[in-house]
Subunit: 258 residues, 6 copies
């Protein structure tokens, strides 16, 4: 059973989707990712992972699932200063997601999984999940290809000191796996904010978060060390991420809290 794409259906076909169908909405971003990665990086990773996970669930017949067209333009205000960033304000994105939730209710959808590729969307996504549940009764879930680097320490490249959260080892590896034609490894340079290690309370994945803009860290735009990235590492990260997303979609299809 191939995974249906919502947009490929006629409206009567949407109306006939099985009860409990899980709709999956990729959230990307179009934003600067350093001099070596395309501005589509988060959009590519989110949509690729969501497609693969939905396909896996559908092929296995593990749960009724449908893939929504993803959002390319989201909340990238931390990169507002950079050419190539196209960002929605917090209230524009919030209104967009509420409008989508309202529309899904009319379509008979009751379960929605966000697959997010951009850490800057995570907080607003949490707010959205609750708002859609309250307003429209949707069961909502917020998933990432990987847990974002600004929430837990990323340990895959020790030279990053756990600070490779934007355009670093992981994202560059993922793009070398998914779209090597768009990666400029000759422009890749290490930009690790080592000063952050001096703080115990404040930092990425530490008890106290802070409000940062990417140009706080310098003019290059990325935060991490892309020089160690490889397509093989990207393949491992991608496939592990897809497995987890597929498992999450299956759980979401029957999730109950009591």
């Amino acid at each position: 059973m191939p995974a249906p794409r919502f947009v490929d259906l006629t409206f009567p076909e949407v109306a006939e989707l099985p009860e409990g169908t899980v709709a999956v909405l990729p959230l990307g971003a179009i934003e600067q990712h350093g001099p070596h990665l395309p501005v589509s990086t988060d959009y590519v990773t989110a949509t690729s992972a969501a497609e693969a996970a939905v396909a896996e669930v559908a092929e296995a017949g593990a749960a009724p699932v449908v893939l929504l067209e993803g959002l390319a333009y989201t909340k990238s205000d931390e990169h507002h200063w950079a050419p190539g960033t196209i960002w929605l304000s917090w209230d524009t994105l919030m209104r967009t997601l509420v409008d989508i939730g309202r529309s899904l209710q009319t379509s008979g959808i009751t379960r929605l999984v966000f697959v997010n590729g951009h850490g800057g969307n995570s907080a607003l996504g949490q707010v959205t999940c609750r708002e859609l549940r309250r307003q429209f009764g949707l069961a909502t879930f917020f998933a990432h290809l990987s847990v974002p680097g600004d929430q837990v320490r990323d340990v895959s490249n020790p030279h990053e000191l756990g600070l490779g959260i934007h355009g670093g080892h992981s994202e560059t590896s993922l793009m070398l796996h998914l779209r090597p034609d768009l990666v400029k490894m000759d422009r890749a340079v290490r930009r690790v904010p080592e000063q952050l290690t001096a703080y115990e309370q404040i930092g990425f994945g530490k008890p106290v978060s802070f409000g940062w803009l990417s140009d706080d860290f310098g003019p290059d735009g990325h935060i991490g060390d892309p020089t160690t990235a490889t397509a093989d590492a990207g393949k491992v990260l991608f496939e592990a991420g897809v497995q987890r997303l597929a498992a999450a979609i299956v759980e979401a299809s029957t999730f109950r809290v009591r």
Copy 2:
């Protein structure tokens, strides 16, 4: 010279786009299109036409141009009642387009052409064009694959009486050309609101417009006669539309009013 896609560029590459580069933004819709067409119809036609027109301009080296990732979810409130319609309210779409215009300004873009596939976006698009010009100094242009049927009478299928504005002969032909796999011609039925011919002042393409919802016309959702649609007719319509769009993009690259 292949047409660059904005999202494939790194941020320094965006910053180096030639002065006067025309950015092209497809506006689709995800909305019911009758029982025979997918809800993606307007999104497919807008993005296909924009891509083809941008490619033609770029290959001819006729003007500097860049293709933006299109918007799938737009203003489909006339189809709000239908499963499969995912619609943004007027203010959500307006805010989205203003946010995009603001971002393009940071990217150094000064000329923006909308390629619209959904008639329901036309009015708000006009409002947007002026707003973006006033707020950000953008030169803005609003183009359609074809002039929307609710603004001038469509004469390509006489059985439609000029009323084939949604899911009728033209759109169905276009989809038979572009995505025949998604068209269900066995579900295609004629739904022409013949009663409208009784009015001289009020109607599609008449002096007085009216505020309509698609379920005012009946439960099937489309307005027109898709039964006569063919892929050949779609090819003619598409190619003529692309030629016009390419010409418009070239004009937009040097357009001045004095």
Copy 3:
């Protein structure tokens, strides 16, 4: 039967208006109209035409009709730079019209015709018509004294090359007919943006519209050739326009799409 003015009625009289009564709302503008016309031009023409058309319908007993107090301040953002322009932003005007629609619903009004005198309101007016239909079930119609010059080419003065869209031959003639005391013909000069004729795709009444501000065309503010205007020409335009509006009101009183 004189046409009742809504504002002259007591509230029980409003409640007793016949079912199907058509409410007519003039939309003017207070905005710069060149050095020769008052800033009230669009407000004068819209309210004069609406009054005359409503009177004609009422005297003929052709349909139940009531005239609403018009809006003087509307969406004149294209003239935002000029002294004398008092403009509402797109969202303020939209909210205003939605509030009026909501109120009319409480008054038992089910049919609403806008009589618009300002081209800059047309696009937002279309958005409003749909919004009022969806939210309040109002049958809504959007009419102009004349079809605005930026939508179809105006042919009444060949020296205008079809570009007399603001303060040109037509509007100046109308004002010479309606309020000659307010016209300064000694300040009237020809300001026709001849450069626009060089474009095939982009322009007033052409396939591709553009977002313009009136100072894009120069510091005088008007666009067209008022020097040929006469009160006689204005009388002809006005009376023809009123006839068409009256016919539209009658059609609106029984308009059905199926």
Copy 4:
């Protein structure tokens, strides 16, 4: 020197208004006023008084002054339940007034007097006056034809017990003076909420105000005793009010706090 009407001017004439010109903006309302008065009552009284006061100031050459087109539709939410009431929400009216203030700044106006005919606008008007001063540097003033009955006790008809705040003795008298053709004295009945006299702290013009809707008082809509109203009383009230407004305009033209 006749008082110029802003809307009658061309835009260069607006630009040449003398420095310190006081702009006067009538605020009416279109709202139920009981079974005996037209819904235009507050609009008629506000615009009539503003016109007369402006004319008096201009004729005396006492201050540079210009009359703006008034607002008919304002904040009548207390009468939201009634046919005939056309009301703007608090934020729509606030946005409208801010937009007007912004536009006046572009027109070179630095002093603005509101002449308010509707008590329900008073509170929001205070908020507006400060907002326009802060945002645009306008010197702003809020005046009434008479001090509204819900702020100080009205003593002109003892049978009203000071409670004739809407459609009572004063307003009915004013309308008998200004527009006797629109008054239905045969429908005038006494509706005085005598119960209010039982409270010492809470009430109209008492230390503690309360949030009321007009249907809290009964289905007739008015609050007061119109049966004693006369055109003569209206004439006295009107002329005294106009004198006060004219004096206020003159003071506003040079008002300084230090």
Copy 5:
């Protein structure tokens, strides 16, 4: 019977509050009050008075009453220029109060008394009272510790000429009574805008109000004469104010307009 504090209750206890319980919400401000008073002045006076009045009503068993946690940050835009002022815009405060009203409805509260310590909140508070009544059916009341000086002339210190509206004799006396530790009498200077006495129509407590910012009056921020303030005067003012508030709460518990 001690007055319950809303925040001290469990949610089942809130649900069991007697029908007709009057909720009391203090509205303070954190804003500059001249060089001699703390920025908390209005918050201290409002919360102190509300607490005392609620306690008195509860102890007397005169009415069911509950004290809500007050708002410290409110609408202090007239002091926007000053360090120490933390102000909400008009729409933020309005939305806050609407949200609180909505929440009280869920809590079963039907009567709400605002106790306001800041004159700058009075106008918006009136708007709120009506909005909450219309939207949620709440019986709403707006009370002050004292009637604000910009609404009626304050006569307690003749050297203030009735102009001691902010940080003058009254407020300084109140703070000397309530929080003498926070008053810097050595910084107290007389700042009375004597020029205002030259106007008959415009001014504090006069027929025409004006939109003022506190720095219109000078850089010191206060308006009045604090040099005569004493703790004894403050005690008298406070106790009289509390008596009136307690009486108002009792009236509010059974207030009916018919």
Copy 6:
């Protein structure tokens, strides 16, 4: 050196706060916390902890710091159904925090630490921190008394299975330490959503979050096991939390990313 309270200062004193002063803003909530805890629970814990941490920093002279008056009413939409919950919508709270940030900029404050007592504020708080940094240049930090239970598993009571996120062992212990007079231990019952342990991907502190309302879990409102709570455990939790907050404030006073 006692920690200054912002609200106790005069405005000149605010202006003279040392450069780099850290402002600390407690974020509470007034919301149902089960049948055994007061609706003030999060407000009490946040303000108590912030006060203690600020006092410790100030007494040690470790950093310049000032305590702001906290917010009692915040984003408690997950408890919207319950009496006792007073909640702001996401946009009301966001606007409030933006307004506060804007005001602090005027006060010369450049560093702001939120001390949050309510998990439902965390996501919006992250959005706020970035918005305040972008709009006003504030260095912003978001801290919790404890890391919220819906983000990492709480392990202090094994019977809670890591699910004691609202009104469970920790919060009840804290309140037994801080305000034992407000705790009704006789109403404390165990409410642990054991079904959640069946999911690997979705859950509190798991890779995929979900949008929940507290009544999804049952009518009692709390989630966790308060029956094991003790004042001693609360003391340990509180003191450890305060130590961490004090350390975070000190770090915030000099925090730099490069």
